[in-house]
């Protein structure tokens, strides 16, 4: 086991900061080899001391964060494989046994239509998981990074257009606009998709909630890209002034090459931090929308919808299991998101500790 080097001063964002000591202050005489000896240079750089390996090692040392990461990974994999791991079908109604408490056959009990709560909770997690992946990785990340890179690197009017658009979207009343967005586009798209299904003979697009997932991810991405774009733009502006970017340009590297190799690599660590910190936000937005009734529509299970339906005081008193299990699941998920986001921030931004 290597010693913990978290105390060492590390460069914050990859190679953005040059060493403070100028070359004239270094004492080169120490490095002179005795006559006759040839310095053997390994063709591979020494491993284990790079910024990345130090950051990951710092992260791996946080036990709670690692536990949370495993819980999140387990939830993601388990919920994506939900048809395989759930004991029942989430639509399977059993009116003989409604609102039963936890039992061996139904560990989380059954809801008011006799559907197995464990199954529905797992499928509800799947909904959240899918939305976080499509919206955060697909929408926010790609949209934010691409627009941020363009804005920071090209500057001038591209920068102005992207930044002004972002300021407009970020000063929107988000929830209200999302409500209007969904209620405007969903019915129209629903008709279009129904026609498409009739024409092609497919029947799973609406049934599996693909339509809902698309609309919500789109809505969240529209309002969520700007924070990421601003972050990337700031990093690019910082990197653009650096000598190695200038050197690459002087050597005739193309814009795409400089963006990909020099800029993207430098912004990777703030990106990881902001994605892991943003997980809870995206998951929360999906839950809020479903809670209000414009997110994922039944019969596709959503934890937000479950919490709304079972949140009535009458249900709380008589059948607390109907709400406590979804609440517990959401709490665990959010707790893990927060702990992980915090630990990742500590590991990749050692300065801010």
């Amino acid at each position: 086991m290597l010693p913990d080097r978290s105390g060492l001063p590390t460069r914050e964002h990859g190679h953005a900061h040059q060493s403070d000591a100028g070359p004239d202050r270094l004492d080169w005489s120490q490095n002179e080899l005795p006559p006759g000896q040839v310095l053997e240079l390994s063709d591979r750089p020494a491993r284990g001391h790079s910024y990345w390996s130090l950051a990951f090692r710092r992260l791996a040392h946080k036990k709670l964060a690692m536990a949370c990461l495993s819980i999140i990974v387990a939830m993601y994999i388990g919920s994506l494989a939900s048809p395989l791991v759930t004991p029942y079908d989430y639509r399977q109604i059993d009116l003989q046994s409604t609102r039963q408490g936890p039992s061996l056959a139904h560990p989380f009990g059954t809801d008011r239509q006799g559907r197995d709560m464990l199954t529905r909770v797992i499928f509800g997690v799947r909904t959240t998981v899918i939305i976080t992946i499509t919206s955060l990785l697909g929408g926010t990340l790609i949209l934010g990074v691409v627009l941020g890179l363009l804005s920071g690197y090209l500057g001038r009017w591209v920068d102005a257009v992207i930044m002004r658009t972002g300021e407009v979207t970020s000063s929107f009343p988000e929830i209200l606009l999302l409500l209007i967005f969904v209620s405007a586009f969903r019915p129209r798209l629903l008709v279009a998709v129904q026609n498409f299904e009739d024409a092609t003979g497919l029947d799973w697009i609406i049934r599996l909630g693909v339509l809902d997932f698309t609309i919500i991810s789109l809505g969240l991405a529209i309002f969520g890209w700007f924070g990421m774009a601003r972050l990337v733009r700031g990093q690019v502006l910082q990197t653009r002034e650096s000598q190695y970017a200038e050197a690459a340009l002087a050597m005739g590297a193309s814009t795409a090459h400089i963006l990909r190799v020099h800029m993207l690599r430098n912004i990777l660590s703030p990106l990881i931090v902001s994605v892991s910190a943003g997980l809870a936000g995206v998951a929360g937005a999906e839950l809020v929308l479903s809670w209000i009734g414009v997110g994922v529509f039944p019969p596709v299970p959503s934890l937000g919808r479950m919490l709304f339906e079972n949140g009535h005081p009458q249900v709380l008193v008589n059948h607390p299991h109907l709400i406590l299990f979804p609440i517990g699941t959401v709490t665990v998920l959010f707790f893990c998101f927060n702990i992980l986001g915090d630990a990742v921030n500590d590991a990749f931004n050692p300065r801010t500790r």
Binding site: P173, L179, A184, W291, L316, F334, N338
Partner: protein, 315 residues
């Protein structure tokens, strides 16, 4: 400074017009007819046409939009509600918005009133058990959604202990406000605690704090005049962020606790396709957001004279 404020304020109407335009287009693109919804079971083509003409819904859409904007800009007239006939939007929203303002104010008081002292305590006891416990709790509660805390608090305090009412609204000084305000305040508390703690620790390491101590100032004066005052600067910046978080919580809390505020009203307006009310909400919330950010930026130089507004680069 004056030019800076004017420039920011000039940006506001442009922003409001863009937001209302997009809202308007989306509302009209969506299905649903306010008059049809208002008539309910009593559908009658003749009546419907008459009401449509009264409300100006039979004009071209561009004309309707320009009429709305013109009313707002020239007379601050937001039009007439479609759902509550013969009532102006201002009347409909006026009473509701006051309720939401009170609720949000109570939530902010709870957030800052608990968050700042607890954050300070954690920082002053850095590395001890107190600090660890506070940080762990803050981490656990941070961004815990409102719809999780609401049913749990309701279950404990209203249904099991029976010391707080379950729902309703009775003004700022009624016990009915306690639970909704706490529910809305909790996620903010966690953010403020962590922010204050980090920022106090940062300030405590500064030279001027050492200077203050070494010139013999009493510990009390050092803490409140030098440490806390400077440590609160990051809190003011994040204030806009906290407000935005509250806005999201308002919807859910008002629906859940049956509070007649703007969050519930906007859902009702959406279901009734009450376009003028929804547009006015867009105008109000955009304006509030921009003004809140402006105020935060203006408070900044008072708290920290090192920051100068509108200056191109540090001098």
């Amino acid at each position: 400074m004056g030019i800076y404020v004017i420039r920011r304020l000039l940006w506001l109407p442009i922003l409001v017009i863009i937001v209302t335009f997009i809202t308007f287009v989306m509302l009209r693109f969506g299905p649903g007819d306010p008059v049809q919804i208002w008539l309910g079971q009593h559908q009658n083509d003749e009546v419907r046409e008459r009401i449509r003409a009264q409300l100006g819904l039979d004009d071209p859409i561009a004309v309707q939009y320009i009429r709305y904007v013109e009313g707002v800009v020239t007379r601050l007239d937001f039009g007439e509600s479609f759902k509550y006939r013969n009532k102006s939007v201002r009347e409909v929203i006026g009473s509701r918005i006051w309720v939401s303002v009170q609720l949000n104010l109570a939530a902010i008081i709870i957030t800052l009133g608990i968050g700042i002292p607890v954050g300070l305590l954690a920082a002053l006891r850095q590395g001890t058990g107190w600090d660890n416990v506070i940080v762990a709790i803050a981490l656990a509660f941070q961004s815990l959604p409102v719809f999780i805390t609401a049913p749990v608090l309701l279950l404990i305090f209203a249904l099991y202990l029976d010391i707080l009412p379950t729902s309703g609204w009775g003004g700022f000084f009624s016990p009915k406000i306690v639970m909704p305000a706490v529910v809305m305040g909790v996620p903010g508390i966690a953010i403020v605690v962590r922010l204050v703690r980090a920022s106090v620790l940062d300030v405590m390491a500064q030279d001027y704090v050492r200077t203050a101590r070494s010139k013999g100032l009493p510990e009390r004066a050092v803490r409140y005049r030098h440490i806390l005052r400077n440590a609160l600067i990051p809190v003011t910046t994040s204030f806009g962020f906290i407000l935005a978080g509250l806005a999201g919580g308002t919807f859910i809390v008002e629906i859940y606790f049956g509070i007649p505020g703007v969050g519930r009203l906007s859902l009702e307006a959406l279901n009734a396709r009450d376009y003028p009310v929804l547009l006015t909400f867009a105008v109000i919330s955009t304006t509030l957001f921009v003004l809140a950010n402006l105020v935060v930026d203006l408070i900044y130089p008072f708290l920290d004279p090192r920051i100068r507004l509108g200056a191109g680069h540090a001098s």
